[in-house]
Symmetry: D2
């Protein structure tokens, strides 16, 4: 990656403008538009942030390409972007515990707080979640308004680019922490950005062996830089066999599935020890079949469906790993671009030759 | 059912004969043969049991029909039957803590005791399990030899027919206890014998609502007799809708899947609340596909593959429920036949108009 | 008990008065005063309730007697009472999902929502909890204002007296559910109101054996009526010995400690099986010593400190048990008195010859 | 420490002698005797080991000093020593899966395999445990016989001195793994050998912050070498205050108590966050009292009593951490002495100026 700004100078807060630049899903079709929009208003319980950095996610690619999921889900006209860090420039009347200038990363799920899930510590599966950058205006913009309860103080010791990607790294943490990690043998199948984060997370969280698999030499090289103990190019090697050799036949305690690929899921199950766990974060593109008896039932396997981040246990865990320096995400952040070049960022993602791509809004020095 | 013998008179042990009658898988093809075979020898760590009652299982039907699974797995020449209760008539030299005449039920999995699973409290998924009545001679016979460590003292207060089916009921207990039960809303999908047991188990274990589903009015009637709070005939009613109405929209905390039916599994997942659990015991007849995103990942569901019984936590749990009288299995035992009529028992199972069928060996008074 | 009103007629809402009667901790010394106070104002996020019934708690006795804890903790001038059910007579502007006339029970802990505990699903140990009837005005009054998020819809099928004591019964649920219950052998040490509730809860939640102990024949009789399987008068019998006999030497899986008595805690630990759990809700009156090696460490015991109710998992669990009819609290409610007779209620508690005492506010028909 | 032998040459097995030297608890009083005893016979299920190294434990000091515990528990005449690694020189007739020359470390608890604890995955709290070096002859000798099922293959990559102390390090693993570790803030109170191991274990298992406390500058220096993030000399600093500062007020997720000191336990509880856990391994010398309300109940704390090692989950975990190189125990092993100098080893332990002391039997080259 280019460079990461360890210390961002806190500038005196300017008078807020009325309009700003933003990446908007302007029409119900492929693409996105950079246009002038009003600076968001800041509700009574909200923080208004000047966006410092924002990460581009696979979801943003789906929105750009306007696939079926996007057509069903995304509000046309929305300012996109759900991974970002910003500086507080205004606060609603009911906000406490924050100060102007504080740097915050954000949980992107705005939950109802009243459903069974929310009321039992499982707000990540709230029945009425609204998502920043999908349902409500997000962070590919100069400013964004967020509920104060979704804000997380960015650790002082991490570069602003890392603070920008705490949300997707939280997905990796949630997936990894959904089963045992300490002293375990863990595989991460799929080395896109969240898979890369998961490698670092599994190591920082105490896994004794982290095996990473993918089909891209570019990504496998990044996996090595995130300190995977073993990397497997599944176009050239048999995954289950490599696991057998590496573990001395004990096989895996857990698989963190980040690819959404049916073969990866089947091989992940096959490479688990009896009684192991498979945690599924990657979204399969279509339905697929499974030999349930051989791969799940006879093995006594546990399968976890994972979405979002535990609110806010996941954030405390991630914060602890970043603050202590046990977890370093920098090798997974391969590109930092001006937000103006959003279309180039999308092209990079499509090419597959990128880890996490981070954008710098207008008016911010990279 | 016909009648259950509350108190079995303990007869003086006769001199053991050399041969006995048994139901043998004599040839590599459909069917089974009742024939004279040697009385099993009793190894140093074994108990020799006079069989009092034996249950017939769906697995026995697979062996009888000689389907693909049976062809791959079953040893030709084996005495079948893996659910039974017997009276100790001889003991090996190393056996302690047992006395002649003790009545014992049996865990059917003979495990190696040395693999990772066995050494970490998960012997039910031992990598080298051998099964009574499949790999080694079982209990459809006058006598059976079993390792003393597989024996479980039958609770004094239950009829001998109930003691005979602790093994399959243990499957129900293991499935039910693989997730939260107390004060939970639970569905049992599939009301074959283990499903029927699971209804009783879920109630005895503290589920606040037990919903049972099946396609057979005969079985749904048995489900009612096992005290299901709600029964759903899925040929006539929409399962998910009935769950929604019955739970006031909160949906299910857990599903105990006993049918192996793909639609039942899909509907079970659809009827779970976000964050719920699906425990799979029923074996699907073939691979099937799933909308993983909608049914598992977005809902944050946990899926447990279940096999066998936890050794021996499950047996303690079952024992406690039977001994206390909280669990009554009798309504699920619909037929008690002489073992001589084994072919009739198979026909009953095929007809679907039976709950659990229990056999009485030669020389035993029903 | 006298009688319980199964169906409360919903009366047309009267114009609210300016003042009301309430039980107030008027001075920093023993006693309490019934006096006229302003009807509480209803904040933007609050519900104003007409109190229908209120339970008297041991804590109220501490406040009355003005012991050291009360001197340190209680705000002089507060309207006391933290267990109650009421009918909504007014709602703040921000309140959603409620309607006038709804009958609600209340969680008494008002939490900050921002500390680590609150943000990780453990709001019951919030670092800044304020308690109704202790820190802020409570329910021994004609009206009480509560945050809408603390309100729980009272199950339609339970009498109003039962709805009034969901809060203390939630303590029993939290204690019981802090470890395994299903198919377990459980003791409840101390049969005051929460102990009595815990007996019913443990049974409804699937414990196979519930043993209750106390020193009062009156309370042990109530324990029997709550369906304890075994009751032990520890003034006459050896608790550990009775447990040994009753469990056939297996000892207890769990102890729910409700007495705060040092001997009860020591005997509870001694009666646990190795690896069992002790859940402590009863508050010891003073520090006491323990043979940690013999009772805790060598036995591999787990000890849980319990306070409040899990917010709101406990409430869902309790609601399910009450709604299904699995749990019946009525035998534990021994007295229903007019709130005007508050001093008599305190005397009853002091006498020990009472289970739960419930008060009927002025203007309510019992 | 002096030096550690990375590769031990496998010598051709000599004809076994009839007698050997051993450290024997010869009389019912203080001290121990080095004397000639018969080489142990090797039962049908046993391995006979030539001892390569043996660790000295605090328990050995108790036996030496013949305190009350030792008087009640230890068999006079026993060969002491329960921490050791050896090379197989003979095997019983029933032993499988092992070969002469294999190097094995040993679980010191010989369990009955039939009690509730053993049958439910909790053999570490077996009701009838016999301990090597306490109840049956142990490893302070040239040879020792052990049940094959207690043997653990020593990881090939660790020095023989490290393999000798897997048993006490297993205590540390068991304590640490009795609650959450990954991304947690953990304190280890007491930096004797097991405390020192626990520091390394907590780090290897993914704790984000490890704080160590003791009263000895010598031991705190060792704690630093085991990579504690923070060390606290409680004779000079306030433990709770240091925790508060170091964690930014969040306090500890867990305390691993290794001292048995009442003040350390009280301060450990005080330094826990609400809802945290205290795992007790250190044995208090006498009963002591606690402010249960303030330190346990109001905080919602969980206290775990810990003994032995989970059999054999703990060994798999430890093996994984050692094999992967995540855990390095060498800095905690401060002295390697000839077994002939056993009395000097005891003096070293008494002085407090030692970490783990390892002994080299007669005829072994250090």
């Amino acid at each position: 990656m280019t460079s990461m700004t360890q210390t961002e100078t806190r500038t005196p807060l300017p008078a807020l403008p009325r309009t700003m630049k933003a990446v908007v899903k302007a029409t119900a079709g492929p693409g996105a538009e950079i246009k002038d929009v009003p600076v968001p208003s800041c509700g009574a319980g909200d923080l208004l942030l000047r966006v410092l950095r924002a990460g581009v996610c696979g979801t943003d690619l789906h929105i750009y390409e306007w696939d079926r999921w996007a057509q069903d889900r995304v509000r046309v006209g929305v300012t996109t972007g759900h991974e970002f860090v910003g500086e507080i420039v205004a606060m609603g009347a009911q906000v406490q515990n924050w100060r102007l200038g504080d740097r915050v990363s954000c949980e992107s799920h705005i939950v109802d707080g009243t459903c069974l899930a929310c009321r039992t510590g499982n707000a990540h599966v709230c029945e009425n979640t609204r998502i920043l950058g999908v349902d409500v205006n997000g962070g590919f913009a100069e400013f964004v308004a967020v509920p104060a309860q979704n804000a997380w103080r960015a650790p002082a010791n991490v570069p602003v680019e890392v603070a920008a990607v705490m949300e997707p790294c939280g997905n990796a943490v949630h997936t990894a922490f959904s089963g045992p990690l300490s002293a375990c043998t863990i595989a991460v199948t799929g080395c896109g950005p969240i898979g890369l984060f998961a490698i670092g997370v599994a190591r920082a969280a105490g896994a004794s062996l982290v095996i990473a698999s993918d089909i891209s030499p570019y990504r496998l090289d990044l996996a090595r830089r995130m300190k995977a103990d073993v990397v497997v190019d599944v176009t050239k090697e048999d995954f289950v066999q490599r696991v057998r050799e590496t573990t001395g036949g004990r096989m895996l305690d857990g698989v963190l599935e980040m690819s959404g690929s049916a073969p990866a899921i089947r091989e992940g199950l096959a490479a688990l020890r009896n009684g192991g766990r498979l945690s599924l974060l990657g979204l399969p593109r279509e339905n697929f079949e499974l030999d349930w008896n051989r791969l799940v039932i006879f093995k006594g396997v546990t399968v976890h469906g994972i979405i979002g981040r535990r609110m806010y246990e996941t954030w405390y865990q991630l914060d602890n790993m970043l603050t202590s320096g046990r977890l370093d995400l920098k090798p997974a952040i391969t590109h930092v671009l001006p937000m103006e070049k959003f279309h180039d960022a999308i092209a990079l993602l499509r090419s597959g030759n990128a880890g996490k791509v981070v954008l710098v809004p207008w008016g911010q020095a990279a």
